[in-house]
């Protein structure tokens, strides 16, 4: 019967109920978006770093991976030293550089190039074709489009350009073996990958046996932090950074986002509470006589409290469900805008939908809805019955 009364009350003022639900939906959408924003970048960065299964990155001493032009000398010996540890399952050296694709006109298309171990690499995902072998290369879509080439084409690439002689240096003929998506690079950034030895050779003496970083996969069950400390002791010329450390650093840099999201989320929650609280209070004020009569005929205080609080909870729940859908749509739209900022890794998302975040937002709103109805409910159920009836009769 309580449910019947709740439904009757809410459907009795359809316009007001719909407006309340719409208001709560907007508030809920904002809250959900803020919850998604507060964890989205962190989680997508965590996913980015962990997706390829490398727990440690070794960079030149005092640098972060690809933070500077610095490289690790004696890459072969360094990799061999790392492989001495039984706690290290794999070492994948990576060299970063630039290649040029000369055109007949004398100009060229330039691109980021990564020298990798194709069997172990964690920098790209192959979309078609195969990993590059000797004298082979893989391109991303941006580079394929810029160069007008396709998988299977053979072309000349150069490792540099001599402005005095006006010619490209270290030309090599390579075949495009595949099409790839580079996980750490921006979508619009032109990129290619080839075996590390080939890129080292393109760079001449300056790049001989050099690597920008080494990605390390720990052995199953190994303590990553212990491995990091072992590297620090064994190889003093490099810095080892664990994924956990990198994520902590990212979290620190993203604290602004989290604070912003927390404040906006809190504001939206308060707005939702005030909205529902106001509407339930108005509804109770309109029905003071009705509640006095219900109390007079023996309806218990707790029944009336339950009815009023349930009305608030239903408004909040309906608004929250609508807000969930609205929040997902707006988050998707906002994410599309934000990820198109130049230079952002392709795999980074600002708004990441996580069921836990959605449930958190819904639970917060549900509790807020019940809380919003609590005071008006208590007021409605605690009326001085005789006085209200007397005033109603007057």
């Amino acid at each position: 019967m309580i449910l019947r009364l709740v439904v009757a009350s809410l459907t009795g003022h359809r316009a007001r109920t719909l407006l309340a639900i719409a208001g709560v939906a907007v508030s809920a959408a904002l809250l959900l978006d803020m919850v998604m924003l507060s964890s989205g970048m962190r989680e997508s960065f965590r996913s980015l770093l962990t997706s390829r299964g490398f727990e440690l990155r070794v960079a030149p001493k005092g640098t972060l991976p690809f933070d500077t032009e610095a490289t690790i000398a004696d890459a072969t010996a360094t990799a061999a030293a790392l492989r001495e540890s039984a706690d290290i399952a794999a070492v994948s050296p990576v060299l970063g550089g630039t290649i040029h694709l000369p055109r007949a006109s004398g100009s060229a298309t330039s691109s980021v190039a990564l020298g990798v171990d194709p069997e172990l690499q964690g920098d790209y995902v192959l979309l078609s074709g195969r990993d590059p072998g000797p004298a082979e290369i893989v391109f991303n879509d941006a580079l394929l489009a810029a160069s007008g080439r396709q998988v299977g084409d053979t072309l000349t690439i150069a490792g540099g350009y001599d402005p005095q002689l006006r010619r490209f240096t270290s030309p090599r003929v390579v075949r495009i073996a595949g099409r790839a998506r580079f996980v750490y690079l921006a979508r619009e950034q032109r990129a290619a990958a080839m075996p590390i030895a080939a890129l080292q050779a393109l760079g001449g003496a300056a790049r001989r046996d050099r690597a920008s970083l080494m990605m390390i996969r720990a052995a199953p069950g190994a303590d990553v932090e212990a491995v990091r400390l072992w590297i620090a002791a064994r190889l003093p010329k490099v810095t080892a950074i664990s994924t956990a450390t990198a994520i902590a650093q990212v979290e620190e840099r993203l604290s602004y986002f989290r604070q912003l999201a927390f404040i906006l989320g809190s504001v939206s929650l308060v707005v939702g509470v005030l909205l529902v609280g106001t509407l339930v209070t108005v509804s109770v004020n309109e029905r003071i006589g009705e509640f006095a009569v219900l109390r007079a005929i023996g309806i218990a205080r707790v029944t009336i409290i339950a009815q009023i609080m349930l009305e608030g909870a239903v408004l909040m729940l309906a608004g929250s469900l609508l807000g969930l859908a609205l929040g997902l749509v707006t988050a998707r739209y906002l994410n599309t805008i934000l990820v198109s900022f130049p230079g952002l890794p392709q795999s980074i998302d600002f708004f990441l939908f996580q069921p836990r975040a959605a449930w958190t937002a819904l639970a917060l709103l549900g509790v807020a809805g019940v809380a919003a109805g609590a005071w008006p409910a208590w007021r409605g159920a605690s009326l001085p019955i005789a006085r209200v009836l007397r005033e109603e009769a007057a």
Binding site: L5, G298, L389, A393
Partner: protein
């Protein structure tokens, strides 16, 4: 009659209206027997409705005691008083006070639902009661679809829902025209003939004339208490529905 169902001992009740203190009931003592039909009459503001609220445990005396079935109503906690009103007292109001969103039957079922009566049992009893007040065909109608007289009959059926020991009515014909008021008066007589104890506050002379006992109030005091021989109507075919 089988002894007093209600007893008032030197009951006083004051309340403030604006800045003024109103002594609504000033030391009223009386007994009301089970099965009686009592009309409380008097000019407006004489304390009739306040007395009715005290009898119905929706208000508490400032002094004195109200005993229902031997229990001191003033000493009950809110929960006990609420349960007493639910199970032992039926209320009929001047303005009917039905829930507009519920059908006639649902309005009658409401106190039974609160009392924990099962769905099928309360539906059957609600139908029986609506039939008793002559509204069997209107059970699905909502109050706005009913006339004033019909709404008051639904309110009477609601008052009888949990088989109360007594029914209290505050100006039950106050919002009705003379003919409809007369129908309600007849219904009350029938109800009393079927064994329901009735206490009615009224300005309606016809309704008061139907009572077995008339209590006259003035300035918060009982000034006359007389037992009369009311005009009786014959027993109805649905006799006893209110107390079964």
């Amino acid at each position: 009659m089988t002894g007093p169902v209600l007893r008032l001992a030197a009951v006083e009740r004051r309340y403030t209206m604006g800045s003024e203190e109103v002594r609504a009931v000033r030391g009223v003592s009386l007994e009301i027997d089970s099965g009686d039909y009592v009309a409380i009459v008097g000019p407006s503001g004489c304390g009739k409705s306040t007395l009715l609220n005290l009898l119905g445990a929706i208000d508490r005396p400032d002094r004195g005691h109200v005993y229902l079935d031997g229990r001191d109503v003033g000493a009950l906690g809110d929960g006990e008083a609420t349960a007493l009103r639910l199970r032992r007292i039926g209320f009929v109001f001047q303005r009917f006070h039905l829930l507009a969103a519920l059908s006639a039957r649902e309005n009658v079922e409401l106190p039974m639902s609160e009392a924990g009566v099962g769905r099928s049992e309360r539906a059957a009893r609600a139908r029986e009661l609506l039939s008793y007040v002559g509204l069997a065909a209107r059970e699905r109608h909502r109050p706005p679809q009913l006339s004033g007289g019909e709404q008051q009959r639904v309110a009477i059926a609601r008052a009888l829902a949990n088989r109360p020991a007594l029914v209290l009515a505050d100006e039950p014909t106050g919002e009705l025209d003379a003919r409809t008021g007369s129908e309600i008066a007849s219904l009350f007589r029938r109800l009393n003939d079927d064994g329901t104890t009735l206490i009615v506050v009224t300005h309606d002379e016809d309704l008061a004339a139907a009572a077995k006992r008339t209590i006259h109030m003035r300035d918060g005091l009982v000034v006359r208490d007389e037992r009369s021989a009311p005009i009786r109507v014959g027993p109805d075919s649905a006799a006893g529905a209110g107390q079964r």
